[in-house]
Symmetry: C2
Subunit: 441 residues, 2 copies
């Protein structure tokens, strides 16, 4: 990465230190998925219809084809899960247990109660909260397994009271999944684990096969095939959200420490080449020092090639006149993770409209949220924090309205109901109340 | 409708009195949309891309083509909305105002507060609730306008604190929308009304045009074109849910009044020929009397042809041995509306797992919920009550996690974070906490 001459994008006032990058930061971020997705749609469509029509037979064929593994029974033995902690380092076991405890205690606060209201003339109205019956969690395999995502997806489902949580993950080498993933499944309360991956795993959970039970909701991250399959089965079952690449946006004033800011940007950039790390600052001095720090730190990082591509393509450093301007731009971008590295971060919280998670102050780096603090790390990406929320206990329940009227209460409103129904041309609706008061026409 | 001989479906124990109907009730209900939808997808895709690329120009062309109307300015004048109550009958005005009051007071109970928790060593975690910025409500036009749906969609958005609510509805004859729809828009707090309909209206709200502002979420019912367009723009903005045809399922014992049960089944069947009305009862006597009542009442109803087709294709009467069996079957069907016409309906509420709205007792007919009681009439259809909930204030807010750690608090966990991050191969994540404690590697 070379220092490029400070250049100003007149339209957006973006000073960009990264080569070849952002003319129109906002719109570009929102667009980056589209092209890739189109090419994959057809392949996924055919995988889904195969699994839907032929069940296990198709599932096993596709697993042979894509993973090179011949499945006999895709279900992971219970004993392997129960003994998973024996196969991992004590330090990791401790980290998993602490994280699980924090995630559990944060999400307990999200539990929603059924409620009702009454009126004196025999009206009772309410809302009943019922956990989903069965939920499926997808956990990617591949080179970097993500045990933390098992905790973040399964614990809220468990707290919601979901009866059965199943987990699907691509077949591992040696025929067994990563032990850290199994340890997290155990501590989070996952009931059954199956070694099936990709779009075929999503299809199996949505429609059910002989061995994989049909679920009410699918959650969890995945590659573009998995994401596309989730979008396609949406409506057959529920899904968590259409996830895109990961993002961090840091708002910093001159009180921020350049080495921390740089490290946090890099922690985002290392995810993948589509990940986006953005700094918006009021301090030109900080901006320059962060750039120096980025070079220094990147040199020592194993994933430096990914980092460099990610910064080149989707990174940005923006100099603004005021923190207000920074907040306005952040709201426009609607980042997944927002760090407020400013003197009094709590004063800005009210102005932040669009962000998945807000990290306040210099000791709240984004990886704290990824693993340990407790709030969910499944967050809206790619500008969708405009309307989506972090994964929560709410996502694993559904509500039913409760309506109970006495004769007296209905008598008091039946004529209005009939009037309204007739205005909509729905005479049988009107008749349904009329008939109860012998005014059947 | 003739009386057919009682025949038993051995697999499901369904006694079916309707001609030509259900072999496998459950699966059929879930499937009925699929074929129709496939044929429409392409047309909608092209409408969306036209509007996205050419904005108002395409929007006006498509309105000319599909509605036969040349738009100058699609926005309905403020004065027309403000004076809408003058153009409707006093009885309807009264019904609208009472309904709006009840809807408002029920939904006020759904307001969610931002919350936080603290620990003594400087940890603050929380969840900030922020209303969506701008929401778009679609209201179908055509022969039977649905003013009640304006109330049901706009009032929860308003209570949530949405800044701007826009409403799109197909152009009316005489160049003005139905006055009852405008009156409902006024009382519900809709800010702007535009006369644009169909898939092009959904595209305009998702992407924005010169005259229609881009929204964060689209809600409201519509025909198959509108529904398909909503599914396609999902992710660009949020949508309420993938709605299907309407359903009622009535569980009745021998205490139920046949004329009420029949009237309530008919009120559902009149919606459209895909609507589904199902009775599950423990009483053969009731079942027979309901059938007689259905014939008697249908004869007097203006929409009798729709009713007959709906009952023939998607209606069912099921005789079961016990109320428990009825509840089990109802949970399998997961109906939009569930009426419990039994001696003590409250005792069944705990066993009901899947239902959009539950109506208890003989004075709580389904149309009470459609118009007046207060709970939302936008409910999960087509078996999706397995995982979806009624439209609520929640649907018009989003949440952001709040994470704030002190130095002391982070010091206590940074090593666990580093361990976890390294187990996932994410060294830059580990570095982001290490660097704060001068253990940069």
């Amino acid at each position: 990465m070379e220092h490029k001459k400070l250049k100003e994008d007149s339209e957006m006032k973006i000073y960009n230190y990264m080569p070849e990058s952002i003319g129109r930061l906002v719109s570009k971020l929102k667009e980056r998925n589209n092209e890739e997705q189109k090419n994959i749609t057809e392949a996924v469509q055919s995988i889904i219809s195969e699994v839907r029509q032929r069940g296990d037979e198709a599932l096993f064929e596709l697993t042979k084809k894509f993973d090179g593994v011949s499945l006999q029974n895709p279900e992971v033995e219970k004993s392997l899960i129960e003994n998973a902690f024996e196969s991992i380092e004590p330090a990791l076991a401790r980290a998993i247990n602490r994280a699980a405890g924090n995630i559990r205690s944060f999400h307990e606060n999200q539990k929603e109660k059924s409620w009702f209201t009454t009126e004196e003339n025999g009206i009772l109205l309410g809302q009943k909260v019922t956990p989903l019956e069965r939920v499926g969690i997808y956990v990617p395999g591949g080179t970097a397994p993500l045990p933390s995502s098992v905790l973040m997806n399964a614990i809220p489902a468990k707290i919601a009271g979901v009866k059965e949580i199943i987990m699907l993950t691509p077949p591992g080498k040696n025929g067994v999944p990563n032990p850290a993933i199994l340890a997290c499944a155990l501590v989070a309360g996952v009931d059954r684990v199956f070694q099936v991956g990709g779009a075929q795993a999503i299809a199996a959970m949505a429609y059910g096969t002989e061995t994989i039970p049909k679920v009410d909701k699918i959650t969890g991250p995945g590659n573009i095939f998995v994401v596309t399959a989730k979008k396609m089965v949406y409506g057959v079952c529920d899904i968590d959200m259409i996830a895109g690449p990961s993002e961090v946006l840091i708002i910093a004033d001159d009180s921020a420490k350049p080495e921390y800011v740089a490290a946090d940007l890099l922690s985002q950039a290392e995810h993948d080449i589509l990940a986006s790390a953005i700094l918006i600052t009021t301090s030109q001095k900080l901006l320059k020092m962060v750039l120096i720090e980025i070079e220094k730190q990147t040199a020592k990082l194993p994933r430096k090639e990914i980092i460099q591509q990610s910064l080149d393509n989707n990174g940005a450093m923006v100099l603004v006149d005021s923190i207000n301007e920074a907040v306005k731009l952040a709201n426009k971008i609607a980042p997944e993770h927002l760090e407020l590295c400013v003197r009094n971060p709590f004063l800005l919280v009210g102005d932040i409209k669009n962000a998945g998670a807000i990290f306040l102050g210099e000791y709240s780096p984004e990886p704290l949220g990824d693993y340990m603090a407790g709030p969910n790390h499944v967050l809206p990406t790619n500008g969708t924090a405009r309307f989506y929320s972090p994964l929560s206990v709410d996502d694993f329940v559904k509500r039913s309205s409760i309506i109970s009227y006495s004769k007296e209460a209905l008598e008091n409103v039946w004529q209005d109901i009939a009037t309204f129904a007739e205005a909509e041309g729905l005479t049988a609706h009107a008749n349904s109340v009329r008939i109860r008061f012998k005014d059947s026409r």
